[in-house]
Amino acid sequence: MNAASSVFSIRLYAKKHPKLSITCVLLLLSWLSVPAYAQALSMINGDAKKTLSINDLRQKSDITQTVFDPYQGREVEMRGLEFRRFLIDQFGDVPPALRFTAWDDYEVTLGGWHDPNWLLVTEEDGKPLSLRSRGPLRLVEQAYDDQRDVEKLREFNDWIWMIRSIEAKW
């Protein structure tokens, strides 16, 4: 659905149902204010590059887990995909290392992704992640041990925010 067709439809119904029309206008405005950027994830495997829609990833998200997010200082209901399985689906296997590029141009190469504990988060408390909430994709651990001090953010510096692309390093 695009904005032009929406405006046309609202104008048709405005005369018969004024209240409903106002509601529709407000909904349309809120939809228009949703940023159209940061809505894709690039997957790079050698020379092959493909782009996945964040919306599709949200649809495929099948794990919901309540995790204490030390950056927000509270428990958050995170929804997403098991990252290990996602890698196998995309690359056929879990690469020894992955190079991540974030929307804030942060880049890092990390290994050890066989652990099924890693969750590729797409939604938080029922809302899609955006750049403002350190999305649109974020990698977090579904569970971490009590030894980690949630007051020390440096202990969570392996969580990766604002993921824009993932490159397999074989």
């Binding site: 204010s33 940023p35 950027y37 940061a38 030390p70 950056y71 927000q72 200082g73 509270r74 929307w103 804030d104 942060y106 890092v108 955006s130 750049l131 403002r132 909430s133 350190r134 953010l153 440096r154 202990e155 969570f156 510096n157 392996d158 969580w159 990766i160 925010w161 604002m162």
Partner: protein, 387 residues
């Protein structure tokens, strides 16, 4: 050169029945284990240092290149300043520029919207509201670029204060960590030195105990050696003979019993000191004639025994011949000999396989042969064939 056969005494000491060393062993183990435990404790301290303390230092000082390597506030400020530059550019409200500005504002918002900032810096929440509202107004075009850029000054100022404060906190944390590391290092150094000194001390105690035990063993050996020797002639006694037979179990041996004829008369006429001298002289003669392979024993009074390897009876006869002819060659005088001869010997010999149960029989047969020689007029030998 043939290796020398062990003496009866050596054989005795190697037997499991002898256990003074065993009895003292527990004490060595105590000192030794204390010493080893000290050195192990030292190793544990070193491993602990390497395994736990070093990563702790890394956690403080090796944050470059990861998520918290640079302050979130610094990164957030960078994006706000990026948005400001864009707003003050030539055409800030073109579609591309607006998108860039909004991305910058969103990134700045995401990096500032952290609980620790909200809790500790009161300017955080108003700054987030400003960024949020401004992003919306820029999108709707209800603000001029200059106004928008100036509205961002307040959040930038807030972020600068956060940065400064966080740097101070980080500095304090590093100072505190450095101080605690210094204290920790002192404790580890001194405790390592104490543990090392204790290890050395225990080792010295162990060595001292070992030397003391060695001295005690040597004394015991000397005592046992004396207990197995005849003090007059320096050769073994009856106990040593039995030990030697047990030590050579399974080999074919010859037992030669030697008795001086009319020794009482010799003593009576020459005196006991001369009698003792004759005994010593005879021991020396037996040794010379039978050679190194024979071990000699004084069984009491004027009776001697020789034990030596022997494979057949004719060889045993040869030994006896050598003894009688050797004695004649020595020409030892016996002024009280009833037959006016020099010193003569009665010799009984037997060959046997060395076994604990075979020895008494062999001894008895040699003794009988000796007494048959005496009964037949002395000065001769007989080899018993019943060994």
């Amino acid at each position: 050169m043939t290796p020398k056969a062990p003496t009866p005494l050596q054989s005795t000491l190697s037997s499991p029945a002898y256990s003074p060393v065993k009895r003292k062993k527990r004490r060595y183990v105590t000192w030794l284990s204390l010493s080893l435990m000290s050195f192990m404790a030292l190793m544990v301290v070193i491993v602990y240092e390497a395994r736990w303390v070093y990563p702790e230092i890394q956690a403080y000082f090796s944050q470059t290149g990861n998520l918290t390597g640079q302050q979130l506030a610094t990164r957030s400020r960078g994006y706000l300043q990026g948005a400001q530059q864009q707003l003050l550019g030539e055409q800030p409200f073109e579609a591309d520029s607006i998108q860039t500005i909004r991305i910058n504002l969103d990134l700045a918002y995401g990096l500032l919207d952290v609980e620790v900032y909200r809790q500790n810096y009161s300017c955080t929440a108003p700054s987030l509201q400003t960024i949020n509202a401004l992003s919306d107004r820029i999108y709707r075009g209800t603000v001029t670029s200059v106004d928008a850029a100036s509205e961002l000054l307040e959040p930038i100022d807030c972020l600068t204060r956060i940065e400064m404060s966080q740097l101070d906190l980080r500095g304090m944390a590093i100072n505190a960590f450095s101080e605690s590391t210094r204290r920790h290092n002192q404790v580890v150094t001194y405790s390592s030195m104490v543990i090392f000194a204790l290890g050395l001390l225990f080792w010295v105690m162990h060595e001292r105990q070992l030397r003391r035990a060695e001295r005690a063993t040597e004394q015991t050996l000397a005592w046992m050696e004396r207990a197995m020797r005849d003090p007059l002639t320096g050769i073994g006694n009856r106990s040593a003979l039995q030990q030697e037979v047990m030590a050579k179990e399974g080999t074919s041996l010859a037992l030669i019993l030697v008795d001086i004829d009319f020794f009482k008369q010799y003593n009576d006429s020459m005196g006991h000191p001369e009698g003792d001298q004759l005994l010593r002289c005879l021991a020396s003669l037996l040794k010379d004639v039978l050679g190194e392979q024979a071990t000699l024993y004084r069984l009491g009074g004027d009776e001697f025994a020789a034990l030596l390897p022997c494979q057949n009876d004719s060889l045993l006869g040869d030994y006896c011949d050598r003894l009688t002819s050797g004695l004649r060659g020595a020409d030892l005088q016996h002024p009280a000999h009833p037959d006016n001869k020099g010193v003569t010997l009665s010799i009984g010999a037997v060959r046997f396989d060395a076994r604990e149960d075979a020895f008494p029989l062999a001894y008895s047969e040699a003794d009988k042969a000796l007494y048959r020689v005496k009964s037949a007029g002395r000065d001769g030998y007989e080899v018993s064939l019943k060994g």
